[in-house]
Symmetry: C2
Subunit: 191 residues, 2 copies
Protein backbone atom coordinates (compact mmCIF):
# COMPACT_ATOMS: atom_id res chain seq x y z
CA UNK A 1 0.00 0.00 0.00
CA UNK A 2 1.90 2.97 -1.32
CA UNK A 3 0.33 5.62 0.90
CA UNK A 4 1.29 3.56 3.94
CA UNK A 5 4.91 3.25 2.82
CA UNK A 6 5.04 7.01 2.26
CA UNK A 7 3.61 7.58 5.72
CA UNK A 8 6.17 5.26 7.33
CA UNK A 9 8.99 7.09 5.53
CA UNK A 10 7.55 10.45 6.56
CA UNK A 11 6.64 9.80 10.21
CA UNK A 12 8.34 6.55 11.26
CA UNK A 13 11.38 6.77 13.51
CA UNK A 14 14.02 4.03 13.52
CA UNK A 15 15.45 3.29 16.96
CA UNK A 16 18.48 1.13 17.75
CA UNK A 17 17.70 -2.60 17.86
CA UNK A 18 15.52 -2.62 14.72
CA UNK A 19 12.68 -0.80 16.48
CA UNK A 20 10.31 1.19 14.27
CA UNK A 21 8.25 3.78 16.10
CA UNK A 22 5.06 4.74 14.30
CA UNK A 23 3.18 5.90 17.36
CA UNK A 24 2.28 9.25 15.81
CA UNK A 25 -0.28 7.63 13.48
CA UNK A 26 -0.66 3.87 14.14
CA UNK A 27 -0.56 3.30 17.89
CA UNK A 28 -0.65 5.60 20.90
CA UNK A 29 -1.87 8.35 18.54
CA UNK A 30 -4.05 7.00 15.74
CA UNK A 31 -4.76 8.89 12.52
CA UNK A 32 -8.35 7.75 12.16
CA UNK A 33 -9.15 8.86 8.59
CA UNK A 34 -5.93 7.15 7.46
CA UNK A 35 -6.71 3.99 9.44
CA UNK A 36 -10.14 3.92 7.77
CA UNK A 37 -8.32 3.73 4.43
CA UNK A 38 -6.31 0.83 5.83
CA UNK A 39 -9.54 -0.86 6.90
CA UNK A 40 -10.96 -0.41 3.41
CA UNK A 41 -7.82 -1.99 1.95
CA UNK A 42 -8.23 -5.04 4.23
CA UNK A 43 -11.86 -5.20 3.08
CA UNK A 44 -10.78 -5.13 -0.58
CA UNK A 45 -8.33 -7.98 0.07
CA UNK A 46 -10.65 -10.22 2.11
CA UNK A 47 -14.16 -9.25 1.01
CA UNK A 48 -14.70 -12.57 -0.76
CA UNK A 49 -13.48 -14.73 2.14
CA UNK A 50 -16.83 -14.97 3.93
CA UNK A 51 -15.44 -13.36 7.10
CA UNK A 52 -17.84 -13.72 10.07
CA UNK A 53 -15.59 -12.32 12.82
CA UNK A 54 -12.46 -10.22 13.17
CA UNK A 55 -10.10 -11.24 15.97
CA UNK A 56 -7.20 -9.25 17.41
CA UNK A 57 -5.29 -9.00 20.67
CA UNK A 58 -5.24 -6.06 23.07
CA UNK A 59 -4.28 -3.32 22.98
CA UNK A 60 -2.87 -1.70 19.86
CA UNK A 61 -4.70 -3.91 17.35
CA UNK A 62 -8.17 -3.06 18.67
CA UNK A 63 -8.65 0.26 16.90
CA UNK A 64 -7.62 -1.02 13.48
CA UNK A 65 -9.71 -4.15 13.95
CA UNK A 66 -12.81 -2.08 14.76
CA UNK A 67 -12.35 0.37 11.89
CA UNK A 68 -11.84 -2.59 9.52
CA UNK A 69 -14.80 -4.58 10.84
CA UNK A 70 -17.30 -1.86 9.99
CA UNK A 71 -16.72 -2.51 6.26
CA UNK A 72 -17.35 -6.24 6.77
CA UNK A 73 -20.34 -5.65 9.10
CA UNK A 74 -19.00 -8.28 11.50
CA UNK A 75 -18.13 -8.21 15.23
CA UNK A 76 -14.64 -7.85 16.64
CA UNK A 77 -13.39 -10.13 19.39
CA UNK A 78 -10.19 -9.10 21.12
CA UNK A 79 -8.13 -11.65 23.00
CA UNK A 80 -7.27 -10.51 26.50
CA UNK A 81 -3.93 -10.70 28.19
CA UNK A 82 -4.66 -12.41 31.46
CA UNK A 83 -2.65 -11.79 34.60
CA UNK A 84 -4.46 -14.46 36.58
CA UNK A 85 -3.05 -17.95 36.63
CA UNK A 86 -6.41 -19.59 37.28
CA UNK A 87 -8.01 -19.79 33.87
CA UNK A 88 -11.59 -21.02 34.06
CA UNK A 89 -12.98 -23.66 31.75
CA UNK A 90 -15.12 -21.24 29.78
CA UNK A 91 -12.22 -19.68 27.86
CA UNK A 92 -9.78 -20.77 25.18
CA UNK A 93 -6.25 -19.91 26.30
CA UNK A 94 -2.76 -19.96 24.88
CA UNK A 95 0.71 -18.73 25.83
CA UNK A 96 2.30 -15.84 23.94
CA UNK A 97 5.91 -14.72 24.37
CA UNK A 98 6.33 -10.96 24.23
CA UNK A 99 9.88 -10.04 23.29
CA UNK A 100 9.06 -6.36 23.81
CA UNK A 101 8.15 -6.96 27.45
CA UNK A 102 10.45 -9.95 28.00
CA UNK A 103 7.74 -12.16 29.44
CA UNK A 104 5.07 -14.70 28.56
CA UNK A 105 1.39 -13.81 28.63
CA UNK A 106 -1.61 -16.05 28.87
CA UNK A 107 -4.02 -14.85 26.21
CA UNK A 108 -7.69 -15.81 26.41
CA UNK A 109 -10.94 -15.63 24.47
CA UNK A 110 -14.29 -16.58 25.98
CA UNK A 111 -15.73 -19.73 24.43
CA UNK A 112 -18.98 -17.80 23.92
CA UNK A 113 -17.44 -15.64 21.22
CA UNK A 114 -15.68 -18.07 18.88
CA UNK A 115 -17.21 -21.23 17.43
CA UNK A 116 -16.89 -23.85 14.76
CA UNK A 117 -18.44 -22.29 11.69
CA UNK A 118 -16.77 -18.92 12.28
CA UNK A 119 -14.55 -17.65 9.49
CA UNK A 120 -11.99 -15.54 11.25
CA UNK A 121 -9.89 -12.70 9.91
CA UNK A 122 -6.98 -11.86 12.22
CA UNK A 123 -5.90 -8.22 12.32
CA UNK A 124 -2.90 -6.61 14.00
CA UNK A 125 -0.77 -3.52 13.66
CA UNK A 126 2.63 -5.24 13.62
CA UNK A 127 4.07 -8.62 12.66
CA UNK A 128 7.62 -9.40 13.81
CA UNK A 129 8.37 -12.80 15.33
CA UNK A 130 4.75 -13.86 14.88
CA UNK A 131 4.11 -15.00 18.46
CA UNK A 132 0.90 -13.00 18.94
CA UNK A 133 -0.54 -14.09 15.58
CA UNK A 134 0.34 -17.74 16.15
CA UNK A 135 -1.41 -17.48 19.51
CA UNK A 136 -4.56 -16.14 17.83
CA UNK A 137 -4.42 -18.92 15.22
CA UNK A 138 -4.17 -21.44 18.07
CA UNK A 139 -7.20 -19.92 19.85
CA UNK A 140 -9.28 -19.93 16.65
CA UNK A 141 -8.40 -23.54 15.92
CA UNK A 142 -9.20 -24.61 19.50
CA UNK A 143 -12.68 -23.23 18.77
CA UNK A 144 -12.86 -25.18 15.51
CA UNK A 145 -13.09 -21.89 13.59
CA UNK A 146 -11.51 -21.42 10.17
CA UNK A 147 -8.80 -18.75 9.88
CA UNK A 148 -9.40 -17.24 6.44
CA UNK A 149 -6.52 -14.81 6.70
CA UNK A 150 -4.28 -12.47 8.64
CA UNK A 151 -4.18 -8.75 7.84
CA UNK A 152 -1.13 -6.90 9.11
CA UNK A 153 -0.40 -3.21 8.77
CA UNK A 154 3.40 -3.41 9.02
CA UNK A 155 5.43 -6.61 8.71
CA UNK A 156 9.09 -6.73 9.64
CA UNK A 157 10.12 -8.91 6.71
CA UNK A 158 13.53 -9.61 8.23
CA UNK A 159 11.95 -11.46 11.16
CA UNK A 160 10.37 -14.89 11.07
CA UNK A 161 6.69 -14.09 11.66
CA UNK A 162 5.60 -14.00 8.03
CA UNK A 163 7.20 -17.36 7.26
CA UNK A 164 5.70 -18.99 10.36
CA UNK A 165 2.18 -17.80 9.58
CA UNK A 166 2.36 -19.04 5.98
CA UNK A 167 3.72 -22.37 7.28
CA UNK A 168 0.64 -22.54 9.50
CA UNK A 169 -1.40 -22.49 6.30
CA UNK A 170 -2.82 -18.99 6.77
CA UNK A 171 -3.12 -16.44 3.96
CA UNK A 172 -1.09 -13.42 5.06
CA UNK A 173 -1.60 -9.92 3.68
CA UNK A 174 0.78 -7.26 5.03
CA UNK A 175 0.12 -3.75 3.75
CA UNK A 176 3.78 -2.80 4.11
CA UNK A 177 6.71 -5.20 4.43
CA UNK A 178 9.99 -3.78 5.68
CA UNK A 179 12.97 -5.44 4.06
CA UNK A 180 15.56 -3.66 6.17
CA UNK A 181 16.09 -0.77 8.55
CA UNK A 182 19.42 0.95 9.08
CA UNK A 183 20.49 2.76 12.24
CA UNK A 184 20.80 5.95 10.19
CA UNK A 185 17.02 5.78 9.69
CA UNK A 186 16.98 4.37 6.15
CA UNK A 187 14.04 2.02 5.51
CA UNK A 188 13.74 -0.32 2.52
CA UNK A 189 10.45 -2.02 1.61
CA UNK A 190 9.91 -5.41 0.00
CA UNK A 191 7.73 -5.43 -3.13
CA UNK B 1 -30.13 6.24 24.30
CA UNK B 2 -33.07 3.88 24.20
CA UNK B 3 -31.55 1.27 21.91
CA UNK B 4 -28.61 0.99 24.30
CA UNK B 5 -30.87 0.48 27.32
CA UNK B 6 -32.76 -2.22 25.41
CA UNK B 7 -29.49 -3.91 24.52
CA UNK B 8 -28.30 -3.84 28.14
CA UNK B 9 -31.59 -5.39 29.28
CA UNK B 10 -31.39 -8.00 26.54
CA UNK B 11 -27.71 -9.02 26.73
CA UNK B 12 -26.31 -7.64 29.99
CA UNK B 13 -25.70 -10.06 32.84
CA UNK B 14 -25.72 -8.89 36.47
CA UNK B 15 -23.12 -10.58 38.64
CA UNK B 16 -22.87 -10.39 42.43
CA UNK B 17 -21.10 -7.27 43.69
CA UNK B 18 -22.87 -4.85 41.32
CA UNK B 19 -20.93 -6.13 38.32
CA UNK B 20 -22.58 -5.71 34.91
CA UNK B 21 -21.17 -7.91 32.17
CA UNK B 22 -21.77 -6.56 28.67
CA UNK B 23 -18.89 -8.34 27.04
CA UNK B 24 -21.06 -9.85 24.31
CA UNK B 25 -21.42 -6.46 22.57
CA UNK B 26 -19.35 -3.73 24.27
CA UNK B 27 -16.02 -5.22 25.29
CA UNK B 28 -14.29 -8.52 24.58
CA UNK B 29 -16.80 -9.02 21.75
CA UNK B 30 -17.79 -5.74 20.09
CA UNK B 31 -20.92 -5.33 17.97
CA UNK B 32 -19.39 -2.95 15.47
CA UNK B 33 -22.50 -1.70 13.59
CA UNK B 34 -24.09 -0.97 16.98
CA UNK B 35 -20.95 0.77 18.28
CA UNK B 36 -20.97 2.92 15.12
CA UNK B 37 -24.45 4.10 16.18
CA UNK B 38 -23.00 4.93 19.58
CA UNK B 39 -20.21 6.88 17.91
CA UNK B 40 -22.77 8.82 15.87
CA UNK B 41 -24.66 9.65 19.07
CA UNK B 42 -21.48 11.03 20.67
CA UNK B 43 -20.95 13.05 17.49
CA UNK B 44 -24.48 14.46 17.71
CA UNK B 45 -23.86 15.46 21.34
CA UNK B 46 -20.40 17.02 20.89
CA UNK B 47 -20.31 18.10 17.23
CA UNK B 48 -20.36 21.80 18.15
CA UNK B 49 -17.62 21.56 20.80
CA UNK B 50 -14.69 22.06 18.42
CA UNK B 51 -13.16 18.68 19.32
CA UNK B 52 -9.58 18.33 18.00
CA UNK B 53 -8.68 15.03 19.66
CA UNK B 54 -10.38 12.06 21.30
CA UNK B 55 -8.57 10.58 24.30
CA UNK B 56 -9.22 7.24 25.99
CA UNK B 57 -7.31 4.70 28.04
CA UNK B 58 -6.38 1.17 27.01
CA UNK B 59 -7.82 -1.28 26.41
CA UNK B 60 -11.62 -1.48 26.22
CA UNK B 61 -12.20 2.19 25.37
CA UNK B 62 -10.04 2.13 22.25
CA UNK B 63 -12.54 0.60 19.84
CA UNK B 64 -15.37 2.96 20.77
CA UNK B 65 -13.02 5.94 20.67
CA UNK B 66 -11.85 5.03 17.14
CA UNK B 67 -15.35 4.40 15.79
CA UNK B 68 -16.47 7.73 17.31
CA UNK B 69 -13.47 9.70 16.05
CA UNK B 70 -14.20 8.93 12.42
CA UNK B 71 -17.32 11.12 12.59
CA UNK B 72 -15.28 14.00 14.04
CA UNK B 73 -12.37 13.44 11.62
CA UNK B 74 -9.90 13.78 14.51
CA UNK B 75 -7.13 11.52 15.85
CA UNK B 76 -7.45 9.25 18.87
CA UNK B 77 -4.78 9.17 21.56
CA UNK B 78 -4.97 6.34 24.04
CA UNK B 79 -3.27 6.62 27.41
CA UNK B 80 -1.06 3.63 28.17
CA UNK B 81 -0.89 1.69 31.38
CA UNK B 82 2.79 1.64 32.21
CA UNK B 83 4.41 -1.16 34.15
CA UNK B 84 7.76 0.59 34.31
CA UNK B 85 8.52 2.78 37.28
CA UNK B 86 10.97 4.95 35.38
CA UNK B 87 8.80 7.43 33.54
CA UNK B 88 10.82 9.58 31.19
CA UNK B 89 10.39 13.32 30.94
CA UNK B 90 8.71 13.21 27.56
CA UNK B 91 5.37 11.91 28.88
CA UNK B 92 2.55 13.23 31.04
CA UNK B 93 1.79 10.70 33.76
CA UNK B 94 -0.77 10.19 36.49
CA UNK B 95 -1.79 7.47 38.94
CA UNK B 96 -5.06 5.59 38.50
CA UNK B 97 -6.53 3.20 41.06
CA UNK B 98 -8.20 0.18 39.47
CA UNK B 99 -10.74 -1.37 41.84
CA UNK B 100 -11.31 -4.21 39.36
CA UNK B 101 -7.67 -5.25 39.52
CA UNK B 102 -7.01 -4.03 43.07
CA UNK B 103 -3.93 -2.04 42.17
CA UNK B 104 -2.68 1.34 41.05
CA UNK B 105 -1.48 1.96 37.51
CA UNK B 106 0.70 4.69 36.16
CA UNK B 107 -1.03 5.99 33.05
CA UNK B 108 0.94 7.96 30.48
CA UNK B 109 0.53 10.00 27.32
CA UNK B 110 3.47 11.19 25.24
CA UNK B 111 3.88 14.96 25.36
CA UNK B 112 4.03 14.90 21.53
CA UNK B 113 0.36 14.02 21.27
CA UNK B 114 -1.44 16.46 23.58
CA UNK B 115 -0.90 20.21 23.62
CA UNK B 116 -2.32 23.50 24.76
CA UNK B 117 -4.85 24.41 22.11
CA UNK B 118 -6.25 20.87 21.92
CA UNK B 119 -9.93 20.50 22.67
CA UNK B 120 -10.23 17.03 24.06
CA UNK B 121 -13.23 14.72 24.16
CA UNK B 122 -12.74 11.83 26.59
CA UNK B 123 -14.42 8.54 25.67
CA UNK B 124 -14.76 5.34 27.68
CA UNK B 125 -17.02 2.32 27.83
CA UNK B 126 -17.77 2.45 31.58
CA UNK B 127 -17.91 5.04 34.34
CA UNK B 128 -18.06 3.77 37.91
CA UNK B 129 -15.85 5.38 40.55
CA UNK B 130 -14.40 7.77 37.96
CA UNK B 131 -10.71 7.07 38.62
CA UNK B 132 -9.77 6.44 35.00
CA UNK B 133 -11.63 9.52 33.74
CA UNK B 134 -10.17 11.77 36.44
CA UNK B 135 -6.74 10.48 35.42
CA UNK B 136 -7.39 11.43 31.80
CA UNK B 137 -8.65 14.88 32.86
CA UNK B 138 -5.43 15.31 34.84
CA UNK B 139 -3.28 14.33 31.83
CA UNK B 140 -5.15 16.71 29.52
CA UNK B 141 -4.81 19.58 31.98
CA UNK B 142 -1.09 18.89 32.46
CA UNK B 143 -0.82 19.44 28.70
CA UNK B 144 -2.78 22.69 28.96
CA UNK B 145 -5.50 21.19 26.77
CA UNK B 146 -9.18 21.97 27.27
CA UNK B 147 -11.47 19.06 28.15
CA UNK B 148 -14.69 19.84 26.27
CA UNK B 149 -16.50 16.76 27.51
CA UNK B 150 -16.60 13.14 28.55
CA UNK B 151 -18.66 10.61 26.61
CA UNK B 152 -19.48 7.40 28.46
CA UNK B 153 -21.40 4.44 27.14
CA UNK B 154 -22.63 3.07 30.50
CA UNK B 155 -22.51 5.00 33.78
CA UNK B 156 -23.12 3.27 37.09
CA UNK B 157 -25.20 6.08 38.55
CA UNK B 158 -25.01 4.62 42.04
CA UNK B 159 -21.23 5.15 42.17
CA UNK B 160 -19.44 8.46 42.56
CA UNK B 161 -17.79 8.87 39.16
CA UNK B 162 -20.45 11.04 37.55
CA UNK B 163 -20.51 13.46 40.46
CA UNK B 164 -16.71 13.72 40.57
CA UNK B 165 -16.42 14.48 36.87
CA UNK B 166 -19.07 17.19 37.02
CA UNK B 167 -17.30 18.63 40.09
CA UNK B 168 -14.14 18.77 37.98
CA UNK B 169 -16.06 21.10 35.66
CA UNK B 170 -16.38 18.65 32.78
CA UNK B 171 -19.56 18.19 30.74
CA UNK B 172 -20.54 14.53 31.10
CA UNK B 173 -22.77 12.68 28.65
CA UNK B 174 -23.54 9.07 29.55
CA UNK B 175 -25.64 7.22 26.99
CA UNK B 176 -27.14 4.96 29.65
CA UNK B 177 -27.14 5.61 33.40
CA UNK B 178 -27.89 2.66 35.65
CA UNK B 179 -29.84 3.70 38.75
CA UNK B 180 -29.74 0.28 40.39
CA UNK B 181 -28.98 -3.38 39.77
CA UNK B 182 -30.49 -6.19 41.80
CA UNK B 183 -28.91 -9.58 42.36
CA UNK B 184 -31.92 -11.16 40.63
CA UNK B 185 -30.78 -9.41 37.44
CA UNK B 186 -33.23 -6.50 37.51
CA UNK B 187 -31.76 -3.25 36.10
CA UNK B 188 -33.30 0.20 36.50
CA UNK B 189 -32.16 3.18 34.44
CA UNK B 190 -32.07 6.85 35.43
CA UNK B 191 -33.84 9.24 33.04
Amino acid sequence: MERLEQRILQDGVVRPGQVLKVDSFLNHQMDIPFLCEIGQEFFRLFRDSGVTKIVTVEASGIGIACLTAQYFHVPVVFAKKSKTLNISGDVYSTEVMSYTHGRTYTVIISKSFLSAGDKVLLIDDFLANGCAMLGLIDLARQAGAEVVGAGIVIEKGFQRGGELIRQAGVRLESLAVIESMEDDGRITFRH
